[in-house]
């Protein structure tokens, strides 16, 4: 049995996800504080945590992030899945029957 070696690159992928989110925020013309306000967060520090590649956008708040950043939730979630769960993304969207 062969297992996909997704884990060693998890850190790097999270960092790339953070950079992508930062780019989206820039395009939306929002500061970290403004995004946090739109997300209803008490502090803006979590936005920084995610953008710096240490945290993940929780699944339950992906839709709110997507809408705040002006992206379709499905597109947003699919792209984040490619960073956070690359193997699952591959199986769902890349492997042909």
């Amino acid at each position: 049995m062969q297992f996909a070696r997704a884990a060693p690159e998890a850190k790097e992928l999270r960092r790339r996800a953070g950079a992508w989110l930062k780019e989206l925020r820039g395009r939306a013309g929002l500061s970290q504080i403004q995004l946090a306000e739109r997300l209803g967060l008490k502090y803006y520090t979590f936005v920084s945590q995610v953008e710096n590649g240490f945290g993940r956008v929780p699944t339950e708040s992906m839709e709110a992030w997507a809408r705040a950043l002006g992206v379709k939730p499905a597109v947003f979630a699919r792209r984040l899945l490619s960073f956070y769960e690359p193997e699952l993304h591959r199986l769902l969207f890349e492997v042909k029957e």
Partner: protein, 149 residues
């Protein structure tokens, strides 16, 4: 001679000071040494507020807890953006961080124990069924063997 006037840094401004970092790392020495945490890292927010990330074990190295300094306030969050605690004393905050990690650990242990009990119970039920079946078989077969003998 030109004298450059440096603006004195206020207590709640700029990157982590060595003393602050030491307080945090010393405060979290137990989880770091016990292997509950894999390491730590630091970063800054867009406006320069410092952040300390306590990371999980490799290879994921995901953020378990994050401490940020906002002005004179220290904020403790988990890796999902939940604010767990806020205080203006780093010592108090580090103590709280330890408590959170201890709770997490005991919750995991409780879950493992629960799963273990469920597996054991299921195994015992199956074993009981096999034993009963065996007994029933014996009660049928033994008299017949007795007749034959």
């Amino acid at each position: 001679m030109t004298v450059v006037a440096f603006k004195p840094r206020l207590p709640g401004e700029g990157p982590w000071r060595a003393a602050e970092l030491k307080q945090i790392v010393d405060g979290l020495a137990a989880p770091l040494n016990d292997g509950d945490a894999g390491g730590w890292d630091v970063g800054v927010t867009e406006v320069g507020d410092p952040q300390f990330y306590l990371l999980g074990r490799p290879p994921q190295d995901e953020c378990l807890l994050c401490i940020s300094r906002l002005g004179r306030l220290y904020v403790l969050e988990d890796g999902r953006g939940r604010v767990l605690f806020e205080h203006n004393s780093l010592l108090v905050l580090a103590e709280q961080a330890r408590t959170v990690l201890r709770k997490k650990k005991s919750q995991i242990a409780a879950r493992v124990a629960l799963v273990w009990c469920a597996i054991r119970q299921a195994f015992e039920e199956k074993l009981d069924a096999v034993a009963i079946e065996g007994e029933e078989l014996l009660t049928h077969v033994v008299p017949q063997l007795g007749v034959l003998a």
